[in-house]
């Protein structure tokens, strides 16, 4: 520095990781959650905008999507919050062994969910190119599928990392905590989408 300096506090004692809003990556994840949330909010707006043009929804001649697979998906994803919360707690407790045991459950749940999702697309009773109603519900389902897919990918990579020695580093446990936070966001966002695809057309 050009100007002479005067030393004040020494910060060597500060930690190199902390959970929650003290973590820089927490803010990054929140930032992307807001981005994606905004994206979905606008998709919802488009959904209601298109619905506002119609007398009936779905438009005359199309049936509402079958309830079975979507509801099954919803139940499983809500149940997956149980191991997810356990992982979050384990991260705060620095319990790497517990995390190594629990993460495969999330990965497995994700795989099951993706399979169900594939079946869901077929059970929508409308094709994406039939009309704007079909286009928007396919779009909502596809966007959420990308959400699941990317978080599933993130979770697999993180799980692999936790299986290595670096899994014991404090920052990795912060990553695990934040990954669990993100999984919560994925199913929270699913709830309005589920309602808009499966229940609003039945009103």
């Amino acid at each position: 520095m050009i100007r002479p300096v005067r030393f004040t506090d020494d910060l060597a004692h500060l930690p190199t990781h902390k959970f929650g809003p003290s973590s820089l990556t927490w803010w990054g994840i929140i930032g992307y959650m807001v981005v994606e949330g905004g994206f979905f909010a606008l998709a919802f707006a488009a959904y209601f905008f298109l619905m506002g043009h119609e007398q009936g929804w779905p438009p005359e001649g199309w049936a509402a999507p079958d309830l079975l697979w979507g509801s099954l998906f919803t139940i499983i994803i809500l149940l997956s919050e149980i191991p997810n919360t356990m992982i979050k707690r384990a991260a705060h407790a620095y319990d790497v062994q517990a995390i190594r045991r629990l993460m495969p459950m999330i990965v497995a749940a994700g795989a099951v969910l993706l399979i169900i999702r594939g079946v869901e697309f077929n059970a929508l009773n409308v094709r994406w190119n039939d009309n704007a109603y079909g286009s928007i519900i396919w779009a909502l389902l596809l966007l959420h599928t990308i959400h699941i897919l990317t978080d599933w990918g993130d979770t697999i990579v993180l799980w692999a990392l936790m299986m290595t020695p670096v899994g014991y580093e404090g920052r990795r446990l912060v990553d695990t905590d934040e990954n669990a936070l993100y999984w919560r966001y994925v199913w929270l966002l699913w709830i309005p989408i589920y309602l808009m695809i499966y229940w609003v057309p039945r009103l």
Partner: protein
Amino acid sequence: MNPEELEDLREENERLEAERARIARDGHHLNGAELHARLDRTWRRQPGLIGWLATVDHKEIGRRYIVTALIFLALGGVLSLIMRLQLARPDGHVVGAARYNELFTMHGSTMMFLFAVPIMEGVAVYIIPLMVGTRSTAFPRLNSYSYYMYLFGGLMLWVAFAFNIAPDIGWFAYTPLSGPQFSPGKRADIWAQMITFTEVSALAAAVVLVCTILKARAPGMTLSRMPLFAWAMLVVALMIIFAMPSIALCSGMLISDRLVGTQFYNHYEHGDALLWQHLFWFFGHPEVYIIFLPATGFVSVITEAFCRRPIFAYPVVVLAIISTGILAFGLWVHHMFATGLPRVGYSFYTAASMTVAIPTGLQIFCWLATMWDGRPRFQVPMLYVVGFIVTFVIGGLSGVIIAAVPLDLQLHDTYFIVAHFHYVLIGGAVFPLLGILTYWFPKITGRMMSETLGKIGFWILFLGFQLTFFPMHFAGLLGMPRRVYTYPAGMGLELPNLLSTIGAFAVATAVLLFVINGVVSYFRGALATDNPWDASSLEWATSSPPPSYNFEHIPVVASRTPLWDEKGDLPVVTGLRVDDKETLLTTVVAAIPDVREPVPEASIWPFVAACATGVFFVSSIFSPWAVPFGGIPTAIAMAAWFWPSSLKRTAEPVIA
């Protein structure tokens, strides 16, 4: 876990603890020239091409953004000269209708997406860490990725132009004209995918900036002591986060209508052409404030330095920036006054569009009050501030005029609007930008720009600008619509168009002079000291140009104008690592030191991931199968980005 493993773990932890005690940190024991040498070895860019591609130094990335954006400014400017030549006389035959339509599409898209927003981001990425007293932006690899995505998006658009498949649907691409039925071929897809590139880039940069400004400020730099430019960029980054998803969504829906037959915009199948307009302008209106608000930050920075006093009524300016950012989201329907939506709804948007003039008007008062109370020195940056006030306010007032529905219904889609937005964008954003580039040039390059050449350039630009765009108000009133490749004689349009064309060449000359000034000064300008303008903010506390690590010790601030208020030695904190990259995180509001944060090392993966994403995006124009097949390499590249280069535990974390 069995007892042996537990024992191994315990031993490992003890070993690491011992190592931790031996780590070199800055402070009493390590400072001055030796500290500089070690920090530089830790932070400087690795040599060679890989080192160049892999750098995550925010100063390097910021410079790249600025240079790339200025190149796009020049390209977009050349297009406008061709357009002006075509319009200089009625029935021009410089270019035909189809080519002209490509020209205005390319001009608008280049200026809005490839110049205006990226250059603001680039300046912010360069200067914000220095201004808030830290060593790096947050997420430097994401920062690097965002630059490459921007570059690739711009290249895709211009390569398409070179191959004669440039988009010709206007920068705003209204449906159904841009849809599959009326725009066959790939032109519209190129446009829509360019949006995807630039919006991914801008969102990444926005997240980087928000996190940097909120978490990486110097100790003592509470939110109410933060420089006004940092406030402006915080609000702008948040606006990008809320606005850009809208255009990402509507352009994605357009691509899918064109590529896989969805019906979002097709009224025959229950879609709606107006859905596009709502989603586009929900982004499009905040977009112009995303371009303008950083410029208000620039004006505050320059006015403070050149009037030798802090900006008058700092809290008012902060509230004005925030309220402009929020209000900007409630105006978008004023772009749709002619579409036949319910009139009573329109009144709300008229009121909101007028209301947004109030915070801006208050900011102008504050700048003028600063000049009144201070002692202004009219060097080049301050000249641009004066030019800004004279010019931008005209644009703002013409904006108030078109906020009124009955007036807008005559003036919408005419050259009056073209005049309005160039007054606010060039007067309101480009003038301050040129001022700030002159002001921060010594910090970035270590040399001063030529004051004489700068003054000549300013006057040519200022006068040339008025000559170019003032007559356009009249052209609009005399009946000239927008986006027309020619116009008939006898309507009184000859004179305004001819004047505009002459003025355009003056503007081009001025921009060329600015570039020449920059290039020559880079090599032969007077050497700059650390603080040639005797300014007050932290970026001037380090050398010009700054060392790779920005500051030898993280500074502490106790006021809004630290370099003016700290009379003697500059207070700093100590204890950060020297042989690994580390910076300091502080709390969001009060800036209390909180966490020592390792800064990621350079990495080639952001570049590789951007290439993979680029291939993915471009090929998806041609086939939807690109989505799974392009997605997979992108996913692999991103996994490699996050995967640590070593699986050995270290005493303190290193991100490599």
